[in-house]
């Protein structure tokens, strides 16, 4: 259908549109008009992706806007976005003709997902594919291959390079799979082609990292223009992604590896000195001129430019004491030695970057300025030395990354050295963590660089906290609720067990056998009343292990098994995948199954339990973070001092958004239905409840608060029967959930009149 929103013609590939999608478009358009950032919350299952794509592409058609950069968390989501886009594009072509609707949209991912080289693409990890690729495509390798035909190169890359600027993707929408196919057909390398095509594309879909991680963003996102519209989808954890992008962990193994790397580098330097001393001299003179000069190197050899670094540093000359290769190696050796010394400690140490820098310069006379150049200097050195197997040099890269970060930022970071894991105090496992405390650091360049940044997800409540955490000023922030033809959501807050005693995972209550039994009885009653799939989330792995053990001893688990099969998420990815697979099969064949999972785990974040795979989700307890963790405490302190966010507010916010994320797994579309039980007495409190997203709160009726097991069982039975009845999908009158083109035209006219 085709309709107008405040004068903008929007092409929407479906016959009908949900009212909230229309509202969403309206707000999004206003934000784009205002050239500002926005924060939009809309429940999952309302077609957020197509709404976003539809409005933004229509906006691009009408106005000379920049690219749309769509950031997703996983490759799977990326493919979904591109599929949706293809449908939209087909519709637009039909409406306005092939020429007018021309777009180029592509997904970009790592070499691992795009490589089509028969040997390299078979490598297991991302790093090894990267290194394998580099071995075949580095400029010096190719140079050598010209003279010596025995040296192997990548045909796909060679073909692509030969074509030069003529290597272009025709208009269209390309998923990763299609990029690979196109590459095979033409004999071009899809990875480099995709990277090259970014500057010509209208829509680019890629991972968060490519935008947020300074190491990657430098290569990929450097040439994007200011007018770009950046979308972060499923962005409820964006602050954590930002923090992770700027955090480094260094363990004993890292340091050992780094020492090995350094020795190897020294050897290579010695070799070069005797054979090709000229190269090292050239590098030296280049470094005098400054890092920015590196831009002239061939495309394939650029590794990174840290956008988090201020521009003046890039232009500045590299400090004299690390310009020469052997000096730099000595410098790094000192740094590694120093960190090694720091790791040899029996007590936990925690300090700010400033004091760390002070002691560093005092003890091994390493100054801050040289540290700042660490990462770039290493990159340059590895290039000069023609080292291609970069996957072996990850350790020294981590150390250099650490050095650069600590040299650059004096605020918003904490260095924490822990001699052993808190949970296993007998096993020494020293770790030095450079932890970023301020999520706004990584995302700041994005906000500054691009005109409009859209942050959207199903769970962004409370909305006012995100702008503070990420320190930006959204022009629009809004939460939309879902219009439903029937109440297909049934959230409940269970505070008491069947014996009327309160249940909670609060620290002093969680091991109480009464609570454990009540939780078990709850599960037992529910599996007997709910068909097909039931999902349970626990607050942590250790808690889950404990409670499942007790249930087993009490015989509750055996009784549960009479009704449904039991599957458990473990920390092992393969095992969990297998369990999930079998869980789905049990649901499909009518046997019914229960899945035990952990909030903040992989399952809670990425796996959908829609339709019969999840008719009920039970959230046992409130998934607070491990509050004794030093990193968390450092972050809380920082948040309080810098952003005036109270510790408790942040903890609750974080816990409740995780809980909401978990329970949100069961509803993936409007035709679906599901129940959610929050089993903890603390959810009944206003401060917890009010932080749940709007679409849960509107369905949380007063009668569904403060329940005991038998009451919730009664509600569940009634709800399931009600949902099994046939219903009218379209809805009528005031609760119309589908708007047709004529409805929208009428609405538009009405709004014109008023």
């Amino acid at each position: 259908m085709k309709f107008k929103i405040e004068g903008l013609t929007v092409y929407f590939p479906y016959e009908y549109i949900y009212p909230e999608q229309y509202q969403y478009m309206l707000e999004l358009k206003r934000a784009l008009d205002a050239k500002g950032h926005c924060l939009l919350e809309m429940p999952t299952g309302t077609g957020k992706t197509v709404t976003l794509l539809s409005l933004i592409t229509s906006y691009q058609l009408a106005n000379p806007a920049g690219k749309l950069i769509y950031c997703t968390r996983t490759v799977h989501e990326m493919e979904k976005v591109l599929d949706e886009l293809r449908r939209l594009h087909a519709y637009q072509e039909k409406e306005i003709g092939k020429e007018a609707a021309k777009i180029l949209a592509l997904g970009l991912s790592s070499r691992k997902n795009l490589c089509i080289h028969p040997v390299v693409s078979g490598e297991g990890s991302r790093e090894s594919v990267d290194a394998g690729c580099r071995k075949l495509t580095a400029s010096w390798v190719r140079l050598a291959a010209v003279d010596n035909p025995n040296i192997e190169t990548c045909d796909f890359f060679e073909n692509y390079e030969k074509k030069g600027a003529d290597a272009m993707l025709p208009q269209g929408v390309y998923t990763l799979h299609e990029l690979r196919n196109f590459g095979r057909e033409k004999g071009w390398c899809p990875y480099f082609l995709a990277r090259h095509m970014i500057q010509f594309a209208n829509i680019v879909v890629y991972n968060y990292q490519y935008m947020l991680d300074p190491k990657v963003a430098g290569i990929i996102s450097r040439e994007l223009e200011k007018e770009c519209i950046v979308v972060f989808d499923e962005a409820h954890n964006i602050d954590n992604v930002c923090i992770e992008a700027l955090s480094v962990n260094i363990r004993q193994q890292t340091l050992d590896g780094a020492t090995r790397n350094l020795n190897k580098i020294s050897q290579v330097i010695e070799k070069f000195k005797s054979t090709d001393a000229n190269r090292l001299r050239q590098e030296y003179s280049r470094l005098v001129e400054g890092l920015a000069q590196r831009g002239e190197l061939p495309l394939a050899d650029q590794w990174l430019a840290n956008p988090a670094l201020p521009d003046d540093i890039l232009k500045e000359a590299v400090p004299g004491n690390i310009r020469r290769a052997e000096h730099f190696v000595a410098f790094l050796k000192r740094l590694v030695q120093y960190i090694k010394g720091r790791l040899h400690t029996d007590v936990v140490e925690s300090e700010g970057p400033m004091s760390f820098l002070n002691s560093l310069s005092r003890e091994c006379s390493i100054d801050q300025k040289a540290l700042r150049f660490c990462y770039d200097r290493l990159t340059s050195l590895l290039e000069t030395l023609e080292i291609t197997d970069t996957d072996e040099f990850l350790h020294i890269q981590a150390v250099c990354d650490f050095g650069t970060l600590i040299g650059t930022y004096q605020r918003g970071f904490a260095i924490i050295i822990e001699p052993y894991d808190e949970r296993m105090p007998n096993i020494p496992d020293p770790v030095l963590q450079l932890s970023c405390l301020d999520a706004s650091l990584a995302i700041k360049p994005v906000f500054e660089r691009f005109q409009s940044v859209v942050i959207t997800s199903g769970t962004l409540s409370p909305l006012d906290l995100y702008p503070r955490l990420l320190s930006f000023n959204p022009v629009i922030f809004k939460s939309f609720t879902m219009t439903l033809t029937r109440d297909c959501l049934c959230p409940m807050i269970l505070t008491r067990g069947s014996d009327q005693l309160p249940v909670s995972t609060k620290f002093d209550m969680r091991s109480d056998p009464g609570v454990v039994r009540n939780y078990g009885r709850l599960l037992l009653e529910m599996v007997a009343a709910v068909p097909d799939g039931v999902v349970c989330f626990f607050v942590s792995y250790s808690y889950m292990d404990g409670i499942i053990n007790s249930w087993n001893e009490m015989g509750i688990l055996q009784e549960v098994m009479q009704h449904k099969l039991v599957f458990i998420e473990t920390q092992d990815v393969v095992e969990t995948t297998l369990a999930l697979d079998n869980y789905r099969r049990a649901c499909d064949c009518g046997r019914g199954a229960v899945f035990f999972s952990v909030a903040r785990g992989k399952v809670a974040e990425g796996i959908d339990f829609d339709k019969h795979y999840g008719r009920l989700v039970i959230m046992y307890g409130i998934p607070f973070q491990y509050t004794l963790s030093r990193i968390l405490r450092a972050r809380l302190e920082y948040l309080r001092e810098t952003f005036q966010i109270k510790e408790n507010d942040f903890l609750t916010f974080d816990a409740v958004r995780q809980a909401a994320q978990c329970v949100g797994r069961v509803i993936r579309s409007k035709a679906d239905y599901g129940m959610m039980i929050f089993a903890d007495k603390r959810y009944n409190r206003h401060d917890k409840r009010s932080k749940l997203p709007g679409w849960i709160q509107t369905h949380l009726r007063d009668a569904h608060l403060n329940l005991s097991t038998d009451m919730s069982l009664h509600i569940a039975r009634e709800f399931l029967r009600k949902m099994a009845q046939p219903y009218d999908k379209k809805g009528q009158g005031a609760n119309a959930t589908l708007l047709s083109q004529s409805d929208l035209e009428r609405m538009e006219q009405e709004s014109m009149q008023t």
Binding site: P531, R591, G592, R682, N684, R685, H686
Partner: protein
Amino acid sequence: MGPEDDGVMPMEEDGDLDAEEQGRDLEAWERAYAEDRSWESLTEDASGLLLAVDVTQQQRQARRRYAASKGPRIQRGIIRYLFVICDFSRAAAEEDFKPSRMGIVANCVEAFVREFFDQNPLSHLGLIVIRSGVAKRLTDLSGSPEAHIRALRANLECSGDASIQNALDLARGYLSSIPTYGHREILFLYSALSTCDPGDIMDSINACKKANIRCSVVGLSAEIYICKTLCERTGGIYSVAISESHLKELVLEHAPPPPAIAEAAVASLVRMGFPTRGAEGAVAICACHREVKLGGGYTCPRCKGRVCELPTECHVCGLTLVSSPHLARSYHHLFPVPAFEEVAVTLHPSGKNDALRLCYGCQQELPVAGNKSVAGVRLECPRCKQHFCFDCDVYIHESLHNCPGCESLIK
């Protein structure tokens, strides 16, 4: 800050509870009244007296069911072979329906069996129960309602798991041997929420589809994915009961013959015998029970064998034996009375259309547009253009199966 410290704001908790008390939801018994808001339909006249409640809306609501079934005449299978499968697993002992799910199911099946034979005199029905994961046949496909009911009443106990696959396979085994003109159906009354199968249930479902067996399920507690799949694949209906009365309604919906699937029912001639009833006092050995019976019974016109009840197949020569009233009673499914349409009429003061004042069926006064003295809807038969009241409409379509207006036109 301690671990998961949340000893904050104890004040708020109290305030919260108060708010909850005030806005608390209605009690269960209040809800029924709150939802239909019957008091709002009360109206008063000028002097403040209550007027009779306008029943028009209610009647329209009730008629919606006919309106939905209105359409071109459809082919229906009137010779049906149906297995009713009752799930008497552990879940049937639940007491959310009083006295228990099993009791209610037994009552419903009893009512259904009677209704089924009333509406489909040419059809056959058998009973299967699932208990402890095993499906057991209680009665073979036959035409006697009493035998089925007796067998079911004698078998009321429940235990163990339920298995849809076992029941399907058993029923399919019996149904696959019946002649092709018959319509094969399975009706589940399913209490459990899961099924414990020995093999892949999808195989059994596909086999049923291949054998043209229409499977329907009436669930007692919630929607189960596999049941939904089963019904979708085999063209059956899946419904879930909300209450005891709703359950009965849903089960009885399966009594009228379903529309025939074109490829499943090839129109063919069926050889049938119309046996004569034996004289009172004549002694004969019946072929069905192998007993000497005094009087009654029917004699097969082809082989002169004796059977006790109709309809049945002759035990000697295998001829289908029916009586002509049986055929006649099945007839109305094929040629239903057309659905009546609601019309509004204003009476001429001249008395020109005075005949429309009264219902053609019961001679009661019909409602007239602009006059509130008689409430309700006025319905017109599209064929004979006679007008009827709501009650006659129900009687004509549900019991009589003949329109008095059309019938009198024939003469």
